[in-house]
Assembly symmetry: C2
Homo-oligomer: 429 residues x 2
Amino acid sequence: MVHHQERRVLAAELPRHAGETVEISGWVHRIRELKSVIFVIIRDRSGLAQVVITPPYAAPPEESVVRISGRVISNPQAPGGVELGEPEIAVLSPATQPPPFDLYRPKLTATLPTILDHAPVSLRHPRLRATHAIAAAAVGGFRGVLDSQGFTEIHTPKIVGSATESGANVFRLDWFGRPAYLAQSPQFFKQMMVGVFERVYETGPVFRAEPHDTARHLAQYTSLDAEFGFIDDHQDVMIMVRQVIAGMVAAVARCRSEVELLDIALPDVPAEIPQLHFADAMAWLGKDHDGQTVDLAPADERALGEWAVRQHGSDFLFVTGYPMAKRPFYTHPEPVRPEYSNSFDLLFRGLELITGGQRLHRHQDYLEALAARGEPTEPYEGYLATFAAGMPPHGGFALGLERFVARMIGADNVRLATLFPRDLHRLAP
Amino acid sequence: MVHHQERRVLAAELPRHAGETVEISGWVHRIRELKSVIFVIIRDRSGLAQVVITPPYAAPPEESVVRISGRVISNPQAPGGVELGEPEIAVLSPATQPPPFDLYRPKLTATLPTILDHAPVSLRHPRLRATHAIAAAAVGGFRGVLDSQGFTEIHTPKIVGSATESGANVFRLDWFGRPAYLAQSPQFFKQMMVGVFERVYETGPVFRAEPHDTARHLAQYTSLDAEFGFIDDHQDVMIMVRQVIAGMVAAVARCRSEVELLDIALPDVPAEIPQLHFADAMAWLGKDHDGQTVDLAPADERALGEWAVRQHGSDFLFVTGYPMAKRPFYTHPEPVRPEYSNSFDLLFRGLELITGGQRLHRHQDYLEALAARGEPTEPYEGYLATFAAGMPPHGGFALGLERFVARMIGADNVRLATLFPRDLHRLAP
């Protein structure tokens, strides 16, 4: 018996089969009834195909799944220049409820909560589908660059015994009767693994019990993390970031039909991304005359993003040297001005996309950094053992996938770049 | 200024630089003091290099991180046939505590708990490192096959609002004051996404609050999941599984030095993996005369694994048609004998490695399956909406990465194939 999946022709392949009788399968995307003829548009993973039915035959309701055999006939008006005539239609699975919105319209006209409440159906809309095809390509681009640079992929625990990294905004869970926490980042683990592989990356979920309901925060997001050793300082990390971003943008660019459908203006990634030290950014913004400001406000980031476009023609800008006061204890200070750090953020069109930097690498420096913050060493035992055993100068970065995608497609809410968002109010679907 | 990472030569590249003065970096893997000379073995991500020091100069303690410049000199006894002479050694980071075991010995001689307690250091042992290099390659092989088959990668929620899929062994967490649960599998989400992309995969963590302390269960493991539509039945899924396994084994085979170091006997993946129906397996085992047995015991799996080697020369065996009574409600029954299912397990050397099958696809069938089990439909609302909107016949499978790796390297405990295992007792490091 021949399996149907071997016999099946995809919508995008139909033009190659003009004149033949073929079998296609997919969803009934749209039904247009004219006086003497019905046009049925079939959607499959490759695109759309037009089928022509003559009454009294009828089409099953939209979103029903069908298998259709018919003759491929030229029709310059149809998608791909061909349509399927003389069809025999088998309904594999009828749609039993009409979707809450028309999936065939160019844009989904529902509100964001309605779109998210009906995610299993709304994601079928070609624009939403394209968004997530682009996300998949971007992750592939991230891995492709790092694989070619000798990095090794790792899978680290998402459940940890102490809420060490930031303390705030962690989800607490019941671990066989003991308290445990969801990991806010793979930071400690990826550093430990630099001691094993020198160069590592992870693409996985991280969890923030973010109590604010904003357009740019999620309680679970996909973090693309990399960390590597034998660097001079954070500038080596920034060189790697630039390669990774270029690879991700190139991977997105290969999704031609999705880029076209979403009308994405792909950014150029300059050979050298411009950079500005935090102190210089403050001076340019006319802020921080008292030296007390330790971070950029969202409005500052937007202003700097505009400056980068005007001054350098770049959608990307590195801001370097953030004050140590705002950075975590493992951050490496600037050697000459130790109130600043060997760290950076990458702004993409005025929004923070990546945070990274050089980390401390000597055991003694860790002991002193924790002591200076009045923190005990016990909760960090395994982490500190890494440095006691010898660690190279190293650094890394983390990129929020959903932010990258949202910025790429110009979405004003990061939830539109997430399949099934989790936030303060949303636990389903 | 030239960055050191541009100037650096890796250990494996040294033979190409005979006669030159070069710079290497890495960990002091081993120090061997002879009468008139000290051999220092340096370990980096590519392998080992030998450096020759003449007293009174000394080497920093093992696991210290060094940068060494010196001349590359031929020495047939040294790794790669060359060694570094006339060295200048800079200590980038001293090891401040000796490792709890000798990392340079061919095998780690510590007990499993000691190895796991000191994971950040024990993972540096070349054999443990090789295990995880193979794991990374296997995941790359999984993705490579599915990317080439038109699958799209997805990232789904690990936090869910109801413990629907099995009920037992779920971790409960505090979600902004409400109860929520860690996902035991991406099953529902990957099915929903078949409605969007037809073919999807995910590589990510899953969580089982496994109350037993066994050698083959973990509380968090890495699940390699795939799901796709427009199949005839589970046999189409098994064809895909065979391709994926072949791709994973091929990817491991490309890790030549790791395969050699671990002395791995790579399995052949037959063009057609032998299969045996559950009913026939029971008959062969001389069991289930009353038709009440619904699953295979581990000893049964081992016996069947040996049979597959003897009878078919295959390390792999599909057992198909498990009784419906043991399978989840979304399982598709066998059309002719509905007490059996269109499902399968793949045994790898007598251990269950993959579970998969065809799922129900019609909305009405889901309503009936839930009613037959006396379950309400409310907790499944988003999931059921997928089928109300039309879904093709589909199926998929899940593979536990750690089990695959453990079986590949012949480890008797799956914890040895996990970077930082989480189980009933272990939450750190």
